[in-house]
Amino acid sequence: MENFGYIVDTLFALFAMTLIIFMVPGFAMLEAGLVRTKNVTSVLTVNTMIYAVASVMFLLVGYQLAFGGWENSGMSIYAAFLFQMAFVGKTVNIMSGGVSERVRILPIALFTVLMGGFIYPLVVNVSWGADLLAGTILDLTMYDLAGSTVIHSTGGWALLAAIMIMGPRKGRYKDGKIHVIPASNIPLVVLGALLLWIGWFGFNGGSVGSIASKENADTVALTIMNTNTAGLAGALIAGIFMYLRYRKFDITMILNGALGGLVAITAGPDLYDIHTPIIIGAIGGALVVIAVPLFDRLKLDDPVGALSVHLVNGIWGTLAVGIFAAEPEAGITLLGQLKGVAVVAVFVFTVSYAAIYIINRFLPFRAGDDEQVEGLDVTECGLEAYPEFKRAF
């Protein structure tokens, strides 16, 4: 079988892609559960629309912009494309979740055109792709296997820009006090978070790129094992922290902690031994528990905790490679990791802020107060998620 490696790697990429696409319903269910019933259809519509918009933009413009061409000798070019395409929607999924319950669909779809077609592909270009910064002082030496920075903090920075421009949900912060808006469906939150967790095995495992040799098969298995370990550690530490601090086990925070651990491991799951991910994931979970109330105090309203999970841990995960797996001979240093975080931060935040600011002038991102009271299901979608149920107060 002369084409054995080619065939196996193609199959591997398609399988990994399928797992990653399971993160679309993952985000959708997580967000549907964490918002009020009157906004559920709207959240699901945003999730579906931006997945489609971002992926089509990546086909039309983004892939070429990121990688400079379609050449790939190791596997079918279509499988290579599909695997990369599966990631695009994640950056905007991360972003759209944090502005739930107030974001209007048209402006965020418009921003997704830019994100999927240009902003994310340019980040990929300078980190994994054709590298237009090569030879310049900004050339990135950051190691980021599956995208702690390239995907998670990229989505996180865009989200931060969006939240700053849009402001909080109506009634979230009244007279300087934090007004809690509880989740509407905890079983959906659990389903969504665990779907994301499973999707991560394709996300990180697939990013190894090849499984068609004994060494690569070991690396893929180690990567997936370490990914899982970090999620476990994140969930455990978030649960323990919540109990120590508040004497309560809040499942939404435990799941956010697991996701925080998963984001944190994503930069280097192939580089660590089997025990290091416990530390990295635990710190990731702890950061979520600390960051969620902190963002609240800063009045950055994030109904799903995406800033704490994806932005904070995207940064932590990228730096963790420099701390736990630095290999100066191979070009992996803490300074290099820090530079990668900073360059992507400045680029994504600035461009996103400018783009959202300009779109917002013509097409406001934030639904009006009356529309928010009525619920975006009615005003944006004309279709209530739970028409037969009593409204939550």
Binding site: D250, T252, V289
Partner: protein, 112 residues
């Protein structure tokens, strides 16, 4: 005839229903309601922030009884619904002008 509306703690519904059945009450209507009295709400914790739940879930039991049965029914509900803790609920009694059984057209105490 009198109508009895009893606002009780949800987990006492089974006891109240069984006690009423025991003294020969053949039917009642229940609904899930929310409200508060002197006990006020209670505070819960969500994602590291405390919040007050003003309206607590309660069950409203409605039934219509003949005047001769009233006192026994009120006593039964009071006993079955009582936990001794704040928030046990209230019972309201009001007069009923007319009762009609839809299936047969019977009226008055025949229709209860």
């Amino acid at each position: 005839m009198k109508k009895i509306e009893a606002i009780i703690k949800p987990f006492r519904l089974e006891e109240v229903k069984d006690a009423l059945a025991h003294i020969g009450i053949t039917g009642m209507t229940v609904s899930e309601v929310k409200g508060y009295g002197r006990q006020k709400g209670h505070s819960e914790l969500y994602r590291g922030a405390e919040y007050v739940v003003d309206f607590l879930p309660k069950i409203k039991v409605e039934l219509v009884v003949g005047d001769e049965q009233l006192e026994q029914v009120l006593e039964t509900i009071t006993e079955a619904a009582r936990t001794g803790k704040i928030g046990d609920g209230k019972i309201f009694v009001s007069g009923i002008e007319k009762v009609i059984r839809i299936r047969t057209g019977e009226t008055g105490s025949e229709a209860i």
